[in-house]
Amino acid sequence: MRNSSTSSRLLAATALVAALGLTVAGCSSSSDSGKSSGGKSSSSSGSLAGTTITYWASNQGTSLDNDKQVLTPELNKFTQQTGIKVKLEVIGWADLLNRILAATTSGEGPDVLNIGNTWSASLQATGALMPWDDAAFTKIGGKSRWAPASIAAAGAAGQDPAAVPLYSMAYGLYYNKKMFADAGIANPPKTWDELVADGKKLTKNGHYGLAVEGGNGSENIHHAFVLAKQRGSDWFDSSGKATFTTPANVAAVKQYVDFVGANGIAAKGDAEYAQNQTITDFATGKAAMMMWQSAATSIKAHGMTPDQYGVVPVPTQTANPTGDAAVTSMVAGINLAVFKNTKHQDAAVQLVKFLTSTPEQKILNGTYGSLPPVTEAQSDPAFQTPDLKVLGQVLSTSAAPLPQVPNESQFETLVGTAVKNLFADAAAGKDVSTDTVKAELDKAQQQMPAS
């Protein structure tokens, strides 16, 4: 008994010391993890060769691993050309914004990173990104290489862009050819009235004319934006103040919600869609139309072949409109930014130059099924497939950037949620009138921060 009690005392003391020594243990084990991330500050300025920079890429391919496989050979080419090594990390969309936020606050981040282009103005306001003035643009071939619409979605108007467009996308109206033929509809709709009329013909026996992603705030915003723009209305005035409740904005939201409500051309169940069920419904023939951006690969993944559907621009209020009334899509896409705190700005700019060079633009956008914002690359045969040709046309002629204001994320959250709530009302059979829409939008507007 005595002996064993001593040994257990010993054990206890050791355990306590071990527990106390946790921090000490921490030191030794951290040295391995230090090795893996410590390469960043290795070289000083001068020749760029031998520099290592970190690149945060967003998820564009079919998986994070797929992205790695696509980007690694390209980045190797870059290393061969310049001697600059690139440490690549592909970050999923669920984490990207929070990671950027953490990097922004701590000042410890990547050298080059991808951002969703709707975040441009918000991130610009933090001052965490390197502004692209004319001198910087000259280093990568000049601003004129890019489609103007894509540049407009890279930061607030009147300021130097916070990022450089990398991949572009646009919305189109996807329609099921067979369902249209069966319903005796010869051509896809050009105006909303036609769309509703066609939708009513297509809605029968558990099939619907249209599918919308009613539970997804961002999708709601994108469509409300276009429908308002077609009425010549914006969501912010020139001073950046929210103008959610203008009659045109109210009408735009009501028109969108009515697809489920008054018109009944979309299933009531669409009100809860937030996980891309829209694509599923379209690909499986439950819905004959959908408005989506660059959906080709997803549709294929759900078992529908490219010859079974067609893509046309999203309808407008009247036939043959001009100016704002002709807008059929937001400018969707990914921008490439340089982190302001980078110790390797020149190397970072070199990487931007490489990724936005015409050959790389062709390769990358071709692989990802997106459109190159660099005009020179657009003529490549890869972008002349029937659907991409239409979307490219939309992007260059009838796409407008979402409001580039610092409070864009509040806008997206508040109005996106308001529309979601209205969809829920419509699905529950409640009447969604102009007044109810206005009340919801008013509530959203009042929650917007003053500045």
């Binding site: 064993s4 257990s8 993890s33 391919g61 970050i91 969309w93 606050t105 891309n276 997803s298 078992g303």
Partner: protein, 291 residues
């Protein structure tokens, strides 16, 4: 009437019919409640992507084992699994070790500051994670800059964070379990010549094994399932499963079948671990702690 307690001894006549019937009905309902989602997961994991979101049928019309092959390619699942395992096990071991000492102190000693300690520790559990995620991140970065200890983005940082997540309740629950162990037992041990640590490890800990196991499971699961901190504090080489699973969802495509398959695959070892721990959960006082 014999006692209810020990499983081996309970005889059929111990429980009246009403009790047995209540047990049958309640446990069957619970079983249905618990297993229905598991069944849905299983059947979804055996479908091809275009069937996953189709109308629900109890018996799927077709099966595909491909999701179980694809899961390893879409996401570095094995790597994330290993990260999760390292982080969760380390956090559990340290958390429970630290908690045992603290709980012993609180349960068996009266000293100035005892109340303040328990209240302080417990109150940390009330902090909404969102309140201190960003400050903690900044502190980790600063520690890294000043001392070279990389906590941010490393497994170590995550281990320390998670271990404190479970610590307050581990301490509290253990105090509860320790309190329910008669003091005479460790007093007797001390009289026998064991010091306080001897009493702790020879008497209190063995007697509290079920409680400790429960706390271990709690600490492990706290670390295993945490999403918010892991999403900010890990990078691609240290990412844990809880966040890594979300990578089956890409911008336009969500591989639901693979999400389900992967979740089931990674849960099998955990459930197996539970099964192995079973006998410790029912050991308790009878297991011969007192000699």
């Amino acid at each position: 009437m014999p006692m209810l307690r020990t499983p081996e001894q309970a005889s059929p006549m111990a429980s009246p019919k009403s009790f047995i019937w209540t047990r049958r009905i309640v446990l069957t309902l619970l079983l249905l409640f618990v297993l229905t989602p598991v069944y849905v997961m299983l059947s979804s994991s055996l479908k091809s992507l275009q069937d996953v979101q189709g109308s629900f049928k109890w018996i799927p019309s077709s099966f595909s084992y491909h999701p179980y092959i694809d899961i390893w390619k879409t996401v570095p699942l094995a790597h994330y699994f290993l990260n999760s395992l390292i982080v969760s096990v380390s956090a559990t071991v340290f958390s429970v070790a630290v908690a045992i000492f603290a709980a012993y102190g609180v349960s068996r000693y009266r000293f100035p500051g005892r109340r303040i300690f328990t209240v302080t520790v417990l109150s940390t559990q009330m902090f909404p994670g969102i309140l201190f995620l960003l400050p903690l991140y900044l502190i980790f970065v600063n520690i890294g800059n000043n001392t070279g200890i990389h906590l941010q983005g490393s497994r170590l940082g995550l281990i320390i964070t998670y271990l404190t997540f479970s610590l307050p309740f581990s301490i509290w629950m253990l105090v509860g379990y320790f309190d329910s162990i008669p003091r005479d037992l460790d007093e007797a041990a001390k009289v026998d010549g064991c010091g306080p640590f001897g009493a702790l490890f020879r008497v209190v800990v063995p007697a509290a094994v079920p409680g400790i196991v429960a706390v271990c499971v709690y600490a492990f699961m706290t670390a295993w399932g945490e999403v918010l901190f892991a999403s900010v504090m890990t990078n691609s080489s240290t990412r844990t499963l809880a966040v890594g699973l979300r990578e089956y969802a890409t911008q336009n495509d969500v591989y639901w079948n693979q999400v389900m398959a992967a979740s089931l695959v990674v849960s099998v070892p955990v459930v197996a671990g539970f099964l192995l721990l079973q006998r410790y959960l029912v050991a308790g006082l009878t297991a011969g702690a007192v000699k």
